[in-house]
């Protein structure tokens, strides 16, 4: 009588209950309960007060700089990151492997060290600052500095998202375009670029999301000035003053930003996978 077999029929492997149970327990303790704590604390507060603190001028200025700096940094990364990915995949030149390895450096380097060294490089006595500051390019303790730090931490996202797609790109399509009489520029604009667009956008979104949450490097390069205050810095500043309500308000806005981005990115990745060959 083999009409009915339990769900274990096709799967004799042991340990499902144990591993899934542990996974859910650990996930709850480390991630879900802390998130719930934030939500519960927010629910205890009065909505008017929370709204007022989340949208007062200081908070609005912080969101504006956070969004603006992360956007500019992500745009810079989309440009330079695409260039780096293209050069690494398409060309062979001395030092290519070193360059390839260097791309992950911002991932591996603690952000505090990144902020420390960038602030020094772009300050008036630094290696770059001593040339750039006289030219009016103030890279340390300014809003520009925030952009520079966010560009540094976000760079690998753009390159590493685009690289695998470029590697798998069908060269036959380019050859076909060339045989049909398209020049190299035309081939790039009409054939290659549209295929790469979803991956460039995904990399852009990842770098943007990373920039919105970044704190470690900003502490060093922003110089703790009111005009360089980003949203995560404001959360810390309010917390240090014992203003929990204010910190929660900004934190909730940051969470909303990152969830909206997360959903957009998931949708984008679904879209871009249609462009990849199986």
């Amino acid at each position: 009588m083999n009409h009915y077999r339990g769900p274990a029929r096709s799967n004799p492997l042991p340990g499902f209950g144990l591993t899934l149970g542990f996974t859910v327990l650990y996930l709850s303790v480390i991630v879900l309960i802390p998130i719930a704590a934030l939500a519960l604390k927010a629910l205890h507060l009065s909505w008017q007060e929370l709204w007022r603190l989340a949208t007062n001028p200081r908070a609005l200025a912080a969101y504006e700089l956070s969004l603006g700096a992360a956007l500019v940094a992500a745009l810079l990364n989309a440009g330079f990151g695409s260039l780096l990915a293209w050069v690494l995949v398409r060309y062979r030149f001395p030092g290519r492997r070193l360059l390839d390895g260097l791309i992950d450096f911002p991932f591996a380097l603690p952000t505090a060290v990144a902020g420390l060294t960038l602030a020094d490089l772009f300050s008036a006595h630094g290696w770059l600052g001593r040339f750039l500051v006289p030219m009016g390019f103030q890279g340390a303790y300014t809003r520009l500095g925030v952009v520079l730090a966010l560009t540094f931490v976000g760079l690998p996202f753009s390159v590493r998202t685009l690289q695998p797609l470029l590697e798998n790109l069908d060269k036959g399509v380019e050859e076909a375009a060339a045989m049909l009489g398209a020049g190299r520029r035309r081939t790039f604009v009409s054939v290659i670029a549209p295929t790469l667009l979803p991956a460039v956008l995904t990399g852009f979104g990842l770098a943007f999301a990373r920039g919105l949450g970044e704190y470690g490097s900003i502490v060093f390069i922003s110089g703790n000035l009111p005009r360089t205050e980003i949203a995560p810095t404001l959360v810390v500043a309010r917390l240090e003053n014992g203003d929990y309500t204010g910190a929660i308000g900004v934190a909730l806005v940051l969470m909303v930003f990152s969830f909206v981005l997360l959903f957009t990115l998931n949708w984008l990745q679904g879209w871009s996978s249609k462009f990849q060959r199986p």
Partner: protein, 289 residues
């Protein structure tokens, strides 16, 4: 990467218009190389040069400072707890997700990725709201004399949160690729569950697991935002290495923060080296023969 001869031939034979003109190619390489040199290499070199700007003696003195030594010890302790915890979780999660079908798998996967999209500062705040003096569990913890916030347990929890997905995310796709045939064969041949896991499943994911571990470790040792919120920055007690760098940065000794930063920069270089080695290793094993 060495291309097989046939590929090189075909590239040579390709029509000229599927290649950029030589000057365009070298211009692009030049711009990309310059950007990487200025933006990636120079910051790295700068850390070491500034660290020794007050001399080798000052460098060693900064590293031998007792508060720096305690920061090194704390960083090693925190990584030593949080990385193994996340490895155990990563193995358990990937086993359940890759080897079994169940409802809610997609939701579980989304939850595992969640810590990556939460700002580290907000992550720290969550633990303060949960375990701090005014937190939800605050009164209970105080009654039992358990100190989590502004103490080592809070630093460990915040570190585990921000490094949560690293190992699991590496292991899940590898285990999914491998399917269940080998384990099923081992079980059929009479091996026990643990035996199968230790001798069949684990060896086949070991490189991916190491890859996840080194990335997890780099982040665990270098985390700043989440840790700074929960640590309270008590010198000599709750300062990790990155927090120590910030404290020295505000102390107006120009070389000292860079001296401590060299340790973290070395960590980054070792991480990159191991990562490259593991990528090369796993590529070699995937290839035929």
């Amino acid at each position: 990467m060495i291309l097989p001869p046939s590929t090189i031939e075909s590239q040579k034979a390709a029509p000229a218009s599927t290649q950029e003109p030589g000057w365009v190619k070298w211009l692009l390489i030049g711009v990309a190389g310059l950007f990487a040199a200025v933006f990636l290499l120079l910051p790295l070199i700068n850390v070491f040069v500034q660290a020794f700007s007050s001399g080798v003696g000052a460098y060693w003195q900064a590293l031998r400072d007792k508060d720096t030594v305690s920061a090194i010890e704390l960083t090693l302790l925190v990584a030593g707890i949080s990385v193994p915890m996340n490895v155990v979780f990563g193995v358990a999660a990937s086993w359940a997700i890759a080897k079994f079908e169940f409802r809610g798998k997609a939701v579980l996967l989304t939850f595992i990725d969640l810590p990556f999209s939460v700002s580290p500062v907000v992550a720290g705040l969550m633990f303060v709201l949960l375990c701090g003096v005014n937190g939800l569990m605050g009164p209970w913890l105080q009654a039992h004399h358990i100190k989590i916030i502004f103490a080592v347990p809070g630093i460990v929890l915040a570190t585990i949160f921000v490094t949560f997905p690293f190992v699991a995310r590496e292991l899940i796709p590898i285990m999914e690729d491998q399917g269940r045939e080998q384990e099923e064969a081992a079980l059929t041949l009479g091996a026990g569950g643990w035996q199968t896991f230790w001798h069949v499943s684990l060896p086949s994911v070991k490189w991916g697991m190491l890859y996840g571990i080194i990335l997890c470790n780099a982040r665990a040792m270098g985390e700043f935002g989440a840790v700074s919120v929960v640590s309270g920055r008590i010198t000599g007690l709750t300062d990790t290495l990155p927090l120590r760098v910030e404290k020295l940065f505000n102390s107006f000794d120009p070389a000292a923060p860079f001296a401590v930063a060299t340790l973290l920069a070395l960590l980054a270089l070792v991480t990159l080296g191991l990562k490259t080695f593991l990528e090369w290793k796993s590529r070699g094993e995937e290839g035929p023969g």
